[in-house]
Amino acid sequence: MKLNHYEKDGIAILEPKGKIMGGPDATLLHDQLHEFIEKGKKKVVVDMAQVEWMNSTGLGILISGLTTLRNNQGELKLANVTGKIQSLLTITKLITVFEAFDSVEEAVKSF
């Protein structure tokens, strides 16, 4: 997984690319989120457009990101959730806790 990030209207946008599979990916995302929190950026959108695939560990990374932000009075929203990841979130019913939007703009607006 590669991880880019940028800012839009004061909201931090994370752009993971490739497969989210745990191991080093977990630390990468975790460290990035903690950096945001330290800088006071507690509203984060994860743009899933370029995520090819995600296993259960990858799912755990997202869940942990969400709880970390919420514990710090923040929020994590998802954008461009499609295909397999959509069905993964549906099956696990995580769709009930993650707010998912069709585009980054919509996600940013929702804050």
Partner: protein
């Protein structure tokens, strides 16, 4: 009698020669070292003794009665050898403990030579006082000059008379002085030895001390004591004692050079020393043999024949080389090719070390070998520590704390660039601000031996100065360089071995864990006339994060669970085991499915971090009314295939378990009928991938199950697993795969 004399002469010459060679080798080996110079000097004067004695033996018969031998120049030159005694005293002041370095006026030490130089001058210049006295005689009454000269000449006469008096008793006087010197030297040496703690040095000094002390003691008995107490010792006893003293004294020094690295003389010098000794012995034997043969021939022919002598020399010349070779080899085998020769050390080291895998034992063996081979005082190890992923100076007897070395330490990086052993002094560019440098200084390190395999630095050895006080010479450094390669091999072997042991232990533990996990799975699936259940769980590793369970609830109700913990291997297995235990206890206390799942979720959220979770499908089958109540906590939807070929997914329930506190679960009910089939699975099946990264997926599963729904559950499971393996041939499988299949055999027909 004449022949005996010539043998004695030859023996004296040989010993004198060997001692001279010893002196030369020692000085040549290390001219810059004071101990070597002084030992060389001492042995040089010791060598003069037998050489002058031998020359005296030759000259003696040619001396006429008019000029007695005792007064000849040659005879008096013999006194030069007595300089041995002050040089012996000087030696004792530096070996085994250096007392000279602390002197305020170092030149004062030469004063101990003064009495003997005076003695030599006395016997050489004033050996005929009458002549000197005659020269000093001044004629009377020759004016003013004589007035001055007269009293001067009286004074001079007085002095000369004093000298001649001294001369008449010089032998006993200087015997006393020599005896005093010997006593003083032995005293210094013994006191010095008491201060040595290093075992090797003690052995080395013991041989030298006893050898030289016995030799000088013998000399004292044969020459000095008779002189002082005025008694005669027979000539032949004197000769025997002199030879014994030479053998013991010279032998002791030679032995400790060859065997104990006394004076740190290099291997080549030690070898040539062995060659000289073997040649000396051979020449001595030859002379004895010639003497015996001469006697026999003389008594046989009644006269001497030159031809026999020439034949003898020819035979000797032919035999000398091969015999000397053999003797030389023997001496080398006995003395030189031992633990002080580095080729031997290498051999010994590789034989000994290759079978040791215990790292501590290995290090102590390396240390011992270095100490005995090089007389190193101490060896410190710095090795890469796998646990902390840093280099560390390991604890030793005198520095008990392990010191982790910063990976950016300048000196460490300098050592990383070394290809061969280097004196720490040479690394001074790397030492500013280096904590490693300070630690090494504390340990009095003199030499760094890098341990490097083809790619990286395993660590290094820090060697202190040699116990003998010598610096490392080129030969030592060459040897250490060769040795470091061997050390790298054995250290790497030991590490690999330790790793494989650790892996073996882990494997054993995993096998045990696997067994425990298998034991936790139901031994058999429940079945009755009206239904059949089959189940299978295939972990991708030895143990896995999937499980299934059947719990009889009484009253004809059977609970069934299929679950999948996030992740794989041991962490997943631990989570699964916890859930399994909770399910057993929760189903015993609760009848409401939603409550059971909510409770379990609460416990897991409390006890694990949020990225650890479990997806779980829980169902209860009531045999009486064939009703199936279930809740799906984020698990892959089980597929319910009806007898008519329609199918539905059992998705009702709630979020996966363990991630969010306070989750709510809802139960749902489906009625089952004859030939209905419920297919439950984990994502190992649905997420199997073929070579183009296409997933097996829910669609394929539904198709397969629909097509094969008439098969008995056991065969259906076999079939779909085979189909999956055809699709995804990854070995070991990507993920744990678990299947549970419930089939209704008999029951309410569809209404």
């Amino acid at each position: 009698m004449e022949i005996v004399q010539s043998i004695i002469t030859a023996v004296y010459f040989i010993f004198g020669g060997i001692l001279l060679f010893l002196a030369g080798s020692i000085v040549r080996g290390r001219l810059s070292v004071r101990l070597n110079r002084i030992t060389g000097l001492m042995l040089f004067f010791a060598a003069l003794g037998p050489i002058f004695l031998a020359m005296g033996q030759i000259v003696k018969p040619n001396i006429s009665a008019a000029a007695p031998f005792e007064e000849s120049i040659i005879y008096n030159l013999l006194y030069i050898w007595e300089l041995f005694f002050p040089s012996f005293l000087l030696f004792s002041l530096i070996f085994p403990v250096d007392r000279l370095s602390t002197l305020h006026f170092p030149k004062l030490k030469y004063l101990i030579f003064f009495p003997h130089i005076f003695h030599i001058l006395l016997v050489v210049v004033f050996n005929n006082p009458e002549k000197v006295l005659n020269l000093l005689e001044v004629g009377p009454g020759e004016g003013f000059l004589s007035l001055i000269l007269q009293p001067l000449s009286y004074v001079m006469k007085f002095v000369v008379l004093g000298f001649s008096l001294l001369l008449s008793s010089q032998k006993s006087l200087f015997s006393i002085i020599n005896l005093f010197y010997i006593g003083l030297a032995v005293y210094f040496i013994l006191r010095g030895r008491a201060q040595i703690t290093n075992r090797q040095l003690r052995n080395q000094s013991a041989i030298i001390i006893w050898g030289i002390s016995i030799a000088t003691g013998l000399y004292a008995i044969a020459f000095l004591l008779p002189e002082i107490f005025s008694y005669e010792t027979p000539d032949y006893i004197q000769t025997l004692i002199v030879i014994a003293a030479l053998v013991i004294g010279g032998g002791a020094v030679g032995w400790s050079i060859i065997r104990h690295q006394f004076l740190d003389v290099s291997v080549i010098v030690r070898q040539s020393l062995a060659y000289t000794i073997s040649s000396g012995i051979l020449v001595g034997l030859y002379i004895l043999l010639v003497d015996q043969a001469d006697k026999i021939i003389t008594s046989f022919f009644g006269a001497k024949t030159t031809i026999v002598n020439i034949a003898f020399i020819v035979v000797a010349l032919i035999l000398f080389q091969p015999i000397n070779q053999q003797l030389d080899n023997l001496i080398k085998r006995l003395f030189v090719r031992n633990r002080t020769d580095y080729r031997n050390i290498m051999e010994l080291l590789s034989r000994r070390l290759i079978s040791i895998f215990n790292p501590e034992q290995l290090r102590s063996m390396i240390e011992k070998t270095l100490i005995s081979a090089l007389l190193v005082d101490r060896v410190y190890f710095a090795l890469f520590d796998d646990k902390v992923q840093e280099y560390a100076l390991l604890p030793s007897d005198d520095f008990r704390e392990k010191i982790v070395i910063n990976r950016d330490d300048l000196l460490l990086r300098g050592i990383g660039q070394l290809e061969s052993p280097v004196l720490l002094d040479r690394l001074s560019v790397y030492r500013t601000g280096s904590t490693l440098s300070q630690e090494l200084e504390k340990r009095k390190t003199q030499l760094i031996l890098p341990l490097k395999d083809s790619e990286h630095l395993l660590g290094f050895l820090a060697l202190t100065e040699k116990a003998s006080g010598f610096r490392y010479n080129a030969e030592d450094i060459t040897m250490l360089g060769v040795m470091s390669n061997q050390l790298v091999t054995v250290l790497t072997n030991a590490r690999l071995y330790a790793d494989s042991l650790e892996k073996q232990r882990l494997d054993e533990e995993l096998t045990m864990a696997r067994q425990i996990q298998l034991d936790l799975l139901p031994k058999s699936a429940p079945c009755a006339e009206s239904f059949v259940i089959s189940a299978r769980s295939l972990p991708s590793r030895t143990i896995g994060g999937d499980f299934y369970d059947f719990i009889p609830r009484g009253d004809g109700i059977i609970s069934m669970v299929i679950a999948d913990a996030s992740g794989k291997g041991m962490p997943a297995a631990l989570l699964v085991t916890q859930i399994q235990a909770m399910l057993r206890s929760e189903t015993a206390n609760n009848t409401e499915i939603a409550r059971i799942l909510q409770n379990i979720n609460g416990y897991i959220v409390e006890s694990t971090s949020s990225e650890k979770f479990v997806t779980l499908f829980y169902g209860e089958f009531d045999q009486k009314n064939q009703r199936f109540r279930y809740a799906n906590a984020g698990h892959n939807y089980p597929i319910l295939v009806r007898s008519d070929g329609t199918h539905e997914s059992l998705s009702q329930g709630g979020i996966l378990i363990g991630a969010f506190g306070g989750a709510i679960y809802q139960e749902a009910i489906v009625d089952l009928h004859q030939d209905d089939l419920l297919f439950m699975y984990t994502d190992g099946l649905s997420e199997a991938q073929n070579q183009v990264e296409e997933e097996y997926g829910e669609g394929r599963i539904i198709d397969y199950v629909l097509k094969n729904r008439h098969l008995p559950p056991e065969l259906l499971i076999d079939g779909i697993l085979q189909d999956m393996h055809k699709f995804d041939q990854t070995e070991p499988p990507r993920d744990d795969t678990t299947l549970v299949v419930l089939k209704i055999l008999k029951g309410n027909n569809r209404q």
